[in-house]
């Protein structure tokens, strides 16, 4: 707790686009009310003076892409009572982890030239691969309302309620016609809800940015997309785009492609 009795909060960025942190700034309407609940003592994006901890709650954005980041995330963990990973990069590797599927030495050469030994690059992982994460707010970007709900819950000592059922729930409630029925490669059935099915609502198929639903049945989705004419590559791209870490899960390996 801070001097004023409010929980102290640190917000940290790792490898990613910083869009989730920006989304916290975008809360605008409720940001002041939020600051009544917690004391943000560290947030380099928004503050010039920042505490070095400890924090009651740490929100961590971005994937872990460098050795230096491994050290830093461990230090944040040690200084935080509760640690929440925010956004697809932090929870599932996100878009940056696409590089895991390429030859890293060749990429280093292309970007940094022949003399690239000093470049600190490791295979990209999500935050939970290095430290214990208490809660994950997935999505690209993380959902603002979910963030607010989580802060409220943590401020009163409750476990935040983060959906683990499929996007179809929110899509059906909004009475959207099913995009799979329109032959669009939608990831809704195997993706966790919480986004309000925003993409399908505007006619764009779900890209799976919130990661797999509880007890995901990849095989069934694979079969549906395959019958619609998707190639294995199409499907792999869909499954791994925002969530490269699922490539290591047994359910995914079972697909054998």
């Amino acid at each position: 707790m801070g001097d004023n009795g409010k929980p102290t909060v640190g917000i940290f960025g790792f490898t990613g686009c910083a869009g989730c942190q920006l989304n916290i700034l975008n809360i605008e309407d409720h940001l002041l009310e939020l600051l009544e609940l917690v004391d943000i003592t560290t947030w380099r994006m928004a503050k010039s003076e920042n505490s070095k901890g400890p924090w009651d709650i740490a929100f961590v954005e971005g994937s872990i892409a460098k050795q230096e980041e491994v050290v830093r995330i461990k230090a944040i963990r040690e200084n935080s009572r509760i640690l929440v990973a925010i956004g697809a990069c932090a929870t599932h590797g996100g878009l940056p982890a696409m590089r895991n599927f390429r030859d890293i030495d060749e990429m280093k050469r292309i970007v940094y030239g022949e003399k690239n030994d000093h470049v600190d690059v490791i295979p990209i992982k999500r935050v939970a691969d290095y430290i214990h994460v208490d809660y994950e707010l997935p999505g690209c970007p993380m959902d603002k309302d979910e963030f607010i709900r989580t802060v409220k819950a943590l401020a009163v000592g409750k476990t935040p309620d983060i959906p683990n059922y499929s996007v179809c729930y929110e899509c059906k409630i909004r009475e959207n016609a099913c995009l799979l029925k329109e032959n669009k490669f939608c990831m809704g059935p195997v993706t966790s809800a919480g986004c309000g099915a925003i993409c399908p609502t505007y006619g764009a198929p779900c890209e799976g940015c919130r990661g797999p639903v509880a007890q995901v049945n990849w095989g069934a989705e694979y079969k549906i997309l395959k019958e619609m004419g998707a190639t294995d590559d199409d499907i792999k791209r869909r499954f791994l785009k925002y969530c490269p870490v699922v490539a290591d899960t047994p359910e995914f390996k079972e697909l054998n492609f």
Binding site: H30, E33, L34, E36, L37, I148, R149, K152, A155, V156, D161, N164, Y165, S166, C168, Y169, K172, I173, E175, N176, A177, C178, L180, K181, E182, C186, G188, P189, V190, G203, V213, A214, Q215, V216, N217, G219, A220, E221, K223, I224
Partner: protein
């Protein structure tokens, strides 16, 4: 004194227009590849030739999310939402198919009984229904197979399309009488000619609606089928996305949660739809999950809708509306499943098709 009338089909729009002062009006409107019951400000948007809506009428009686009560944590007081629900403007639902009226009659049993759900009942009492008799089959429905193609109650007016672009109108309740008053000269008493036209429409209906399966011995079938390999097979296809239950007109499961406001001094107690397909549906502290395996949850849904509903309410909780078939991303068909089980289990003649 007759309670049957004749109305020109085009005059329905005039009736809706005239009713607008008194009701919030909802009717079938096309949206992309499906239809929805939408709020009607312009009666010409109503599409009475609609195949089926994606969401049934349940959204008007158990909204997907509703605040049941509000708590003031400082004063420790409770503010019930029921008076607000009761004060809502009356709603008029136009063009409701027979299967959906049957679904409401089923929900009436669930939300009535020993304990009455006052929010449901308040909305039900506040609603007037203009039913629409389907005389031609829809794409995925199988109402005649489950005996929901005919209704004798549950509507206030019931429209049967007859020759000459007219409706044969039956009045089912005092709320229907109120609509008659609003309709005024748009309706005139049916004559023998009207009765004959109605009979012809019904003859057409009986000939055109297929019967795809039957429900003889359905209890015994389900009692025998608990270990049937069909459940494992369906489990491979089902993603437990819950679409079937969400679009189902008789699925009513819900979750309750409290949500604090940002001042942390007020909270809403909200209920929202849930489905038995979801992982935490039967999860208790411990943690112990009474249905941990996804296929067990799919099977449970079938058992609750058929076996459980028969036990509790004497009727199955499937109206044959076909929504779950139309909206299942994996293409699982309740009709085909029941057909297959009936065929293998009780071995009596079953009809395929429809």
């Amino acid at each position: 004194m007759s309670s049957t009338y004749i109305m020109k089909r085009s005059d329905l729009l005039k009736l809706v227009q005239a009713a607008m002062d008194e009701y919030d009006i909802y009717g079938p409107v096309q949206r992309r590849t499906t239809w929805v019951f939408d709020k009607i400000d312009d009666p010409s948007r109503i599409d009475m030739d609609y195949d089926n809506t994606m969401m049934s009428l349940k959204k008007f009686f158990i909204p997907s999310k509703e605040v049941m009560m509000r708590f003031n944590l400082r004063e420790m007081s409770i503010d019930d939402s029921l008076p607000d629900v009761k004060a809502e403007r009356p709603q008029l639902l136009v063009g409701v198919h027979a299967c959906d009226i049957h679904a409401l009659l089923f929900l009436d049993r669930v939300f009535g009984g020993k304990y009455v759900d006052p929010y449901y009942v308040a909305r039900r009492e506040n609603t007037t229904i203009i039913g629409l008799n389907c005389i031609d089959p829809c794409k995925h429905g199988f109402c005649k197979s489950v005996n929901t193609h005919i209704v004798n109650e549950g509507y206030d007016l019931y429209l049967t399309p007859i020759t000459g672009d007219k409706y044969y109108v039956h009045v089912g309740s005092p709320k229907g009488d109120r609509l008659l008053t609003i309709a005024g000269k748009l309706l005139r008493e049916a004559t023998d000619e009207g009765h004959e036209a109605f009979k012809a429409s019904m003859k057409h209906k009986h000939e055109s609606l297929p019967v795809g399966l039957h429900l003889d011995n359905i209890n015994e079938t389900f009692d025998m089928a608990w270990d049937d390999p069909i459940w494992a097979r369906l489990g491979e296809e089902c993603m437990n996305c819950g679409s079937c239950a969400l679009v189902c007109p008789t699925c009513y499961c819900y979750d309750v949660a409290d949500e604090l406001d940002l001042s942390l001094s007020n909270a809403d107690r909200t209920r929202k739809w849930s489905t038995c397909l979801y992982h935490d549906f039967a999860l208790v502290a411990g943690p112990h999950n009474f249905r941990e395996d996804p296929p067990a949850r799919l099977k449970y849904r079938f058992y609750h809708k058929i076996r459980g509903a028969l036990h509790d309410h004497g009727i199955i909780a499937c109206t044959g509306c076909g929504r779950c078939i139309e909206h299942c991303p994996a293409g699982i068909s309740v009709k085909d499943v029941v057909y297959e089980l009936q065929k293998r289990r009780v071995g009596v003649p079953v009809v395929k098709g429809g």
